[in-house]
């Protein structure tokens, strides 16, 4: 039976529904009160982590690493929740996690951390992550990490991986028009940038939490700072999507009327 070394790249984003306000910081754009906002594991990366754990369970001897670049204090907080979900070994890198960082530099820091993993074997390596991030949808980081690690088989918008006994696998990738593309890959290594997959969020498991915590805190304590200079990156303008909350209480409106109003509202933008 094959086993894999599944490395998940995933960082943190503000918890959903937080009010985000871009401001000009000393090193470029930032979010107002960013350190005060509660954070969660990036939802796209979270899907890939759950898929990784599910795959690892099917192939005994597999191991899941979560390589995460973010402010150490915030990572620590998020790990209190994520740590209860599935078993993984955390590799923490202390640095910015906002959507205003240069994806190439982030990818460089991630690739270096992955290269430095003790016992990493690229013939068993599946590199997982989100195909984009909730804080920025450039969709480039995972591709660059793969390139830096010399992994040429890359899939983006992945919803499913089916591994065969010989180690080859089939990948379901999202493509234009709401369809999936089926790809075949002979073996690891490969990069899989995940869309949502088909797994629900795992339940919080106290035993998983206790097991993970033994590795999480030492990893956070020895987290190395990442040098993300953002050199060569300039932002011409940062603004939030135009959005105006208007709430009305309407009773007994038909589905057609509601749909019509929503369509008109969308057309305004």
């Amino acid at each position: 039976m094959n086993s894999f070394q599944i490395v998940v790249c995933g960082s943190i984003v503000p918890d959903p529904l937080q009010t985000l306000e871009p401001v000009a910081g000393p090193t470029g754009p930032a979010l107002k009160n960013e350190m005060m906002l509660p954070a969660v594991l990036d939802p796209w990366a979270a899907h890939s982590l759950y898929e990784a754990a599910n795959l690892a369970k099917q192939f005994p001897g597999s191991k899941v690493y979560l390589v995460s670049l973010g402010p150490k204090a915030k990572l620590q907080q998020v790990m209190m929740t994520v740590g209860q979900k599935v078993p993984f070994e955390l590799v923490a890198i202390d640095g910015p996690a906002s959507g205003f960082t240069d994806s190439e530099e982030v990818a460089g820091a991630l690739a270096a951390a992955i290269e430095a993993l003790p016992g990493i074997d690229k013939t068993k390596l599946l590199l997982f992550g989100g195909w984009e991030s909730a804080s920025r949808g450039a969709g480039s980081t995972m591709q660059i990490v793969g390139e830096l690690l010399g992994i040429t088989d890359q899939f983006q918008g992945v919803d499913r991986i089916t591994v065969r006994p010989d180690g080859s696998f089939e990948v379901l990738e999202r493509i234009e028009g709401g369809k999936h593309q089926v790809s075949e890959c002979k073996s690891a290594p490969a990069v899989l940038g995940w869309a949502t997959g088909y797994l629900g969020e795992p339940r919080n498991d106290p035993q998983v939490g206790m097991m993970n915590m033994r590795g999480i805190m030492p990893s956070l304590q020895k987290a190395k700072p990442a040098q993300i200079a953002n050199d060569g990156l300039s932002f011409l303008k940062v603004e939030l999507p135009k959005q105006q909350r208007t709430t009305r209480i309407v009773k007994d409106a038909s589905a057609d009327e509601i749909a019509q109003e929503i369509a008109e509202w969308i057309a305004k933008d």
Binding site: D15, P16, T19, M36, P38, Q84, D205, P206, Q207, M210
Partner: protein, 619 residues
């Protein structure tokens, strides 16, 4: 007699730890901080008995999805906190700042809709007629010439409890001596003969009624030599212990309040210094107290307390909060402000009178649920924190000497420490300080003043009724103002249009419509989304349950709907209220606002352990 359904027999996993803790708030922060420091300083720290060869296993489970999602408008003297952190530097915690300016204000009614007694109206009239000669009269408010000593927080701090909890949580995790797991509600205590043997976590992967469905995971049993209960005033474990072990003679939990607050970004040009504190009373109703605290970076907390002795059956914290903010004294600062955060919580205002048994075989209780809140000084965080530190001192002593966590040992090591503490001393002064409010607003103020100025030797005692005994039908409460027919017509209209009865009756009483500005004055539902960021993951049972639906059908007041801080309880089609877990902020106000007693000391609403709720850490 109502009996909760027996739990089905499920093969549950269990985990052995040394100390299991339920609820992460200031009290648990104090407990874990102190214990963690003592373990770190100890040359030969005690070994785990649950996991031999390992360090002591101390695990805390918190209901909310993050340790920073607690809500409280806090100005605190922080004596206990500073004792734990001698180099406490407020600048290290976002939104924290020392108090620089403190005022007590009496707010007059600027619109004439407030339900004031004739005496109070006369007093207001007198004040207005003398406003040009009375010092301190400003924008329909009277600044008291001095702040009574017992209310002063001048040497303290303004905090965001959310940010403070996050900071404490990070310190604790850094220590590596304890584990804190949020998003994991504790369902109940585990009992073995006459001792508490640990806690049971909630089931996951269940439907609204708690029946297993896809992804079912039975709540795990966490067995421990010591269970520390700090799950707050409406926590299920604390209330279960009250039910199982009873309360000490003469003690009862009958005084409550729902505190609701907003954190706002003040408009440009408002130059109130960070550290400004206003304690306020008199408006929107005389029974409702309010506060306004200025944080750094032009942020402010503004909120009110709606107490159980406010007899209106159509009480609503949200609309009253809006009228409070619109009072001219505050509105001059708030006009143009933007809502950043919003939330609500119940306060156990019985204080010392509501103190349960603080320790028993295998368990100890700390924090607000242990009766630590000081109802005279209006302080709870400092007291709660300190009770945690006192327990940690006692627990460490027992660990060091190898003594088991029996009732006798915990009483000697913890309860005795508590009896010698300032929390106890000040709690005794405050014990009957608020009883006067059972008789009326002015009597309440007199009672507080007497208790505060005489060190508790004199106060106005009163027979404190249970909250459900105070709740009247709207027809009785508004007698003389509206006829039965008028109220019935309003009620029918509300049912037909799905409008809140409290809104309609407040309109009828002359309260003006809220001039929504889309920034600070927004609908209740928008406050849930924009301010509280309220969310609830699927897979958990409803935690608010109407035990006997037929009783609700014949309930005329349905105060649970009117008081609900999140509009999570609404009119149901069958006459029984409907509950929407995704809107619940877990304030627990429904628990003590049910007017229907189904057996002695038990009303028709069960408030159980539940997941989700507020997702704002700026509260």
């Amino acid at each position: 007699m109502h009996r909760e359904p027996k739990e089905p027999v499920i093969d549950r996993q269990s985990l052995e730890v040394d100390i299991a803790c339920g609820g992460f708030g200031p009290a648990m922060g104090g407990f874990l901080t102190t214990l963690s420091k003592k373990l770190a300083e100890c040359e030969t720290p005690p070994e785990s008995k649950a996991m031999p060869g390992m360090p002591l296993q101390v695990i805390c489970y918190e209901r909310a999805d993050d340790v920073g999602f607690g809500v409280s408008g806090v100005v605190t003297r922080a004596r206990g906190i500073r004792n734990s952190f001698p180099d406490f530097d407020a600048s290290q915690i976002p939104m924290a700042t020392p108090v620089v300016n403190e005022k007590v204000l009496y707010l007059l009614d600027p619109i004439g809709a407030s339900r004031r007694s004739a005496t109070l109206r006369l007093g207001d009239k007198l004040l207005r007629s003398l406003k040009n000669v009375i010092p301190g009269f400003d924008h329909d408010a009277l600044e008291l010439p001095y702040t009574p000593e017992f209310l002063k927080k001048h040497d303290g701090f303004i905090l965001s409890i959310g940010q403070f909890n996050q900071w404490v949580g990070n310190q604790l995790l850094n220590s590596g001596n304890v584990q804190i797991w949020p998003g994991m509600p504790v369902k109940k205590a585990l009992f073995e003969k006459n001792r508490v043997a640990g806690i049971r976590l909630v089931d996951q992967g269940v439907d609204k009624q708690g029946n297993p469905e896809a992804g079912f995971m039975a709540g795990m049993d966490i067995k421990a030599a010591l269970t520390v209960v700090g799950d707050g005033p409406v926590g299920p474990v604390g209330r279960e212990l009250d039910e199982v072990f009873g309360m000490p003679s003469g003690h009862h939990v009958r005084d409550w309040a729902v505190g609701m607050k907003a954190v706002v970004s003040l408009p440009e040009g408002v130059d109130l210094p960070a550290g400004t504190v206003f304690h306020m009373m008199g408006y929107p109703e005389p029974e409702i107290f309010g506060f306004f605290y200025v944080h750094p970076d032009r942020m402010a907390s503004v909120g009110i307390f709606v107490p159980s002795w406010f007899d209106s059956p159509v009480r609503t914290a949200y609309r009253y909060l809006q009228h409070f903010m619109l009072h001219p004294y505050l509105w001059r600062y708030l006009d143009g402000a933007t809502l950043l955060s919003w939330g609500a919580k119940s306060l156990q205002e019985s204080g010392k009178q509501g103190e349960p048994y603080l320790a028993g075989n295998g368990y100890a209780r700390i924090g607000e649920g242990s009766g630590s809140t000081n109802v005279l000084t209006g302080s709870g965080v400092d007291e709660a924190w300190t009770t945690g530190t006192l327990l940690a001192d006692g627990v460490f002593e027992l660990l060091r000497t190898g003594k088991p966590f029996t009732r006798e040992n915990l009483e000697a090591a913890y309860v005795e420490r508590r009896r010698r503490s300032w929390v106890e001393k000040e709690g005794r002064v405050a014990e009957h300080a608020r009883d006067g409010f059972q008789r009326g607003f002015i009597q309440g103020l007199i009672g507080m003043g007497l208790a505060g100025l005489t060190g508790g030797r004199i106060s106005l005692h009163a027979n404190i009724k249970e909250p459900h005994e105070r709740i009247q039908e709207p027809e009785d409460y508004f007698r003389g103002k509206f006829s039965h027919e008028e109220i019935e017509a309003i009620r029918k209209r509300c049912l037909a249009t799905n409008q809140s009865l409290h809104d309609a009756l407040m309109d009828a009483c002359g309260w003006p419509a809220i001039p929504f500005d889309g920034k600070l004055l927004i609908t209740h539902q928008d406050a849930l989304l924009v301010g509280g960021k309220v969310q609830a993951a699927a897979g958990y049972a409803d935690h608010v349950v109407f035990l006997q639906p037929e009783v609700c059908r014949f309930c005329g007041s349905k105060t649970c709907i009117e008081i609900c801080s999140g509009q999570a309880i609404t009119q149901g089609d069958s006459g029984t209220p409907a509950f929407d877990r995704e809107k619940c902020v877990h304030c627990g106000a429904c628990l003590w606002n049910c007017s229907q007693e189904i057996e002695k000391g038990k009303t028709n609403i069960a408030f159980r352990a539940g997941a989700g709720g507020l997702h704002s850490a700026q509260n």
